[in-house]
């Protein structure tokens, strides 16, 4: 979408998506709120400002691709896809149900707009490297975006893929790391530390930027810069807050996959509109 860059409009959309995420997970009875909320500002920017896509033609050959490598945060992606009109919003209330087109983790064969099946940490990113390679082989000019989590930086395959992408100089590939500094068992720094992330990716041959992943002005600048070919793949390290927007969830690893009721969801939604945080 190439409308004017309007951070206030994007913030309003992101807030709506947060409401959908919370209601969707509560309704399903399980899911991953914390990481969906940390990722949703960037996903909003991509789907409502940046990606060259056409919801009418989810299989359009020349579309930009987006791979949610941290596939457990599917609710954030589903909310964006529904709002962009890839499928009816009613589908959101079937999340995780038997036979639903919205599976617990993204399924490229069931959900229009999903470009790669993901959910096993690390694999989505490596698949995105393959897509970028395939696009270049075909002489296509679309971009390939992949969103990773900080815990994915602990998987060996992530670094194997990072090496391969740099080796093949895939400057049509843009990775974004949702660095919310939390994983399932606690704070990433206490489990297996991954910092300094920027130095690692630099050493692996990537063009590195580091931003506040909830500031649309910084998000916009980083993705604009990543459009310029530099002969190497791009990574945007987005420092984020797990549970962003819901005060009582923010920066609490225990909200990684904790279930909550529809009534609790409404309390969380109330918090969203108190703080004006995004």
């Amino acid at each position: 979408m190439t409308s004017e860059f309007d951070p206030a409009r994007l913030a309003a959309i992101a807030r709506d998506l947060r409401v959908l995420i919370l209601r969707m997970i509560a309704n399903a009875g399980s899911g991953h709120p914390g990481g969906s909320l940390s990722a949703v500002d960037i996903i909003t920017y991509l789907y409502f400002r940046h990606l060259r896509i056409d919801p009418e033609r989810p299989h359009w050959e020349d579309r930009d691709r987006f791979v949610l490598s941290k596939g457990h945060c599917a609710p954030a992606l589903y909310a964006a896809l529904a709002r962009r009109g890839y499928f009816p919003e009613a589908w959101l209330w079937t999340l995780r149900d038997v036979g639903s087109p919205l599976q617990g983790h993204p399924d490229m064969r069931k959900t229009p707009g999903v470009d790669m099946t993901t959910g096993s940490l690390g694999q989505g990113f490596a698949c995105a490297v393959g897509i970028a390679l395939g696009a270049r082989l075909q002489g296509k000019t679309y971009r390939v975006y992949a969103m990773l989590s900080d815990a994915e930086l602990q998987e060996g395959v992530t670094w194997e893929a990072a090496l391969a992408a740099a080796h093949h100089r895939l400057d049509n590939l843009i990775a974004v790391i949702d660095n919310n500094r939390c994983q399932t068992d606690g704070f990433t720094a206490d489990i297996v530390a991954v910092e300094p992330i920027d130095e690692k990716w630099s050493a692996f041959g990537w063009d590195v930027q580091r931003i506040d992943g909830h500031d649309f002005v910084q998000i916009h600048a980083a993705f604009q810069r990543a459009l310029q070919p530099r002969g190497r793949p791009h990574v945007i390290i987005a420092d984020t807050v797990k549970g962003k927007g819901v005060r009582s969830m923010e920066n609490r690893p225990e909200w990684h996959a904790q279930p909550f009721t529809p009534e609790q969801a409404e309390v969380f939604i109330g918090e969203l509109f108190e703080g004006g945080s995004s």
């Binding site: 399980s30 995780r96 038997v98 617990g104 815990a151």
Partner: protein, 317 residues
């Protein structure tokens, strides 16, 4: 008295018990300690606990190294990641050198529900059973989960054990004799034998009740050890009941059903029918009952297969 609880919960509690008894026991996890219940050991013996983060292949290799230095590592993650992402480490770094590593994986089968295919471990029995030197277990209830955990700590050598995520009823007496490689007979019957593992043992018992109302007496065997499989008990079932149905929350390919059919066809061929996931990827789901029914893997499917296997036997005679 043992209470109904998820087998993974009983596993975590038994690890604490083991930690007390045996100072050589160490525990590893890959960022799912709350789910696997290894957090119970972590909270009690933090100096003997290592969380390797989202790095399952690495975790199994590190466990191999710890075993090589005399420790008894229990390495836990979800079935899917232990049996597929980390499997070459299980084979080449653990089973081949016969290192004393216990891989205990939770969240087996389609019953996990919400997360869907990416988190359903339904190929592990097939994969692990094909690996030499490896003992493969799938206990059914909290009582046998505790006994199995204690037994594999005693056993010197590589072990893989799968456990379910959902609450499991108590099916066995506290005094039950648990031996690796020996099935447990839960119900006597002479018409047909139902052999099941893990969460499907409960379904086999329910199926046996349904069959009993129709005048069919089913023997029910809890096959907690998939490898080495209890050949004697299978041959006895073939000889004495002449018809067998297997049930597992796993692909019909290569798991318990395959192991039983291999023994039967090589020794005393009688009809065998298998209940399991029939060569499809299952959906997400919101509750295990609906999901198992949808994929034709519940007690009704077992009872129906029992009737069919009896019809098959009647035709053969």
């Amino acid at each position: 008295m043992t209470a109904a609880q998820p087998n993974r919960e009983m596993y975590g509690k038994t690890l604490v018990e083991l930690g007390e008894r045996n100072p050589r026991v160490v525990v590893l996890d890959a960022d799912v300690a709350k789910s696997t219940n290894t957090y119970r050991f972590r909270d009690r013996y933090p100096e003997r606990f290592f969380d390797l983060g989202a790095a399952e292949l690495n975790m199994v290799c590190i466990a191999a190294g710890l075993a090589a230095t005399g420790w008894i590592p229990f390495a836990s993650t979800f079935v899917i990641f232990a049996s597929l992402r980390a499997v070459e480490a299980v084979r080449t770094s653990v089973a081949y050198p016969k290192l004393n590593v216990k891989i205990v994986a939770t969240n087996a089968g389609v019953e996990i529900c919400g997360d869907g295919v990416t988190h359903q471990g339904v190929e592990d029995l097939a994969v692990m059973r094909a690996i030499a030197n490896l003992v493969v277990l799938a206990p059914s209830d909290p009582v046998t989960t505790r006994l199995a955990t204690l037994a594999i700590a005693e056993y010197e050598g590589p072990v893989y054990m799968r456990l379910g995520r959902q609450p499991a009823p108590v099916l066995h007496d506290e005094s039950v004799e648990f031996r690796i490689g020996r099935m447990i007979r839960l119900r006597e019957g002479g018409d047909v034998t139902l052999i099941a593992c893990g969460n499907m043992v409960e379904h086999a018992l329910l199926a046996a009740e349904e069959l009993a109302r129709e005048g069919i007496e089913a023997r029910v065997l809890d096959c907690h050890t998939i490898k080495p499989i209890d050949r004697e008990e299978i041959i006895r079932a073939a000889l004495e009941t002449g018809a067998i149905v297997t049930a597992e929350d796993h692909s019909i390919h290569g798991g318990l059903g395959a192991a039983v059919a291999e023994v039967v066809t090589e020794t005393y061929p009688v009809p065998v029918r298998r209940v399991g996931l029939r060569d499809v990827f299952a959906s997400s789901g919101r509750d295990p009952k609906t999901l198992l029914a949808r994929y034709d893997m519940d007690y009704r499917a077992i009872a129906r297969e029992a009737r069919q296997v009896l019809a098959l036997r009647a035709r053969q005679r």
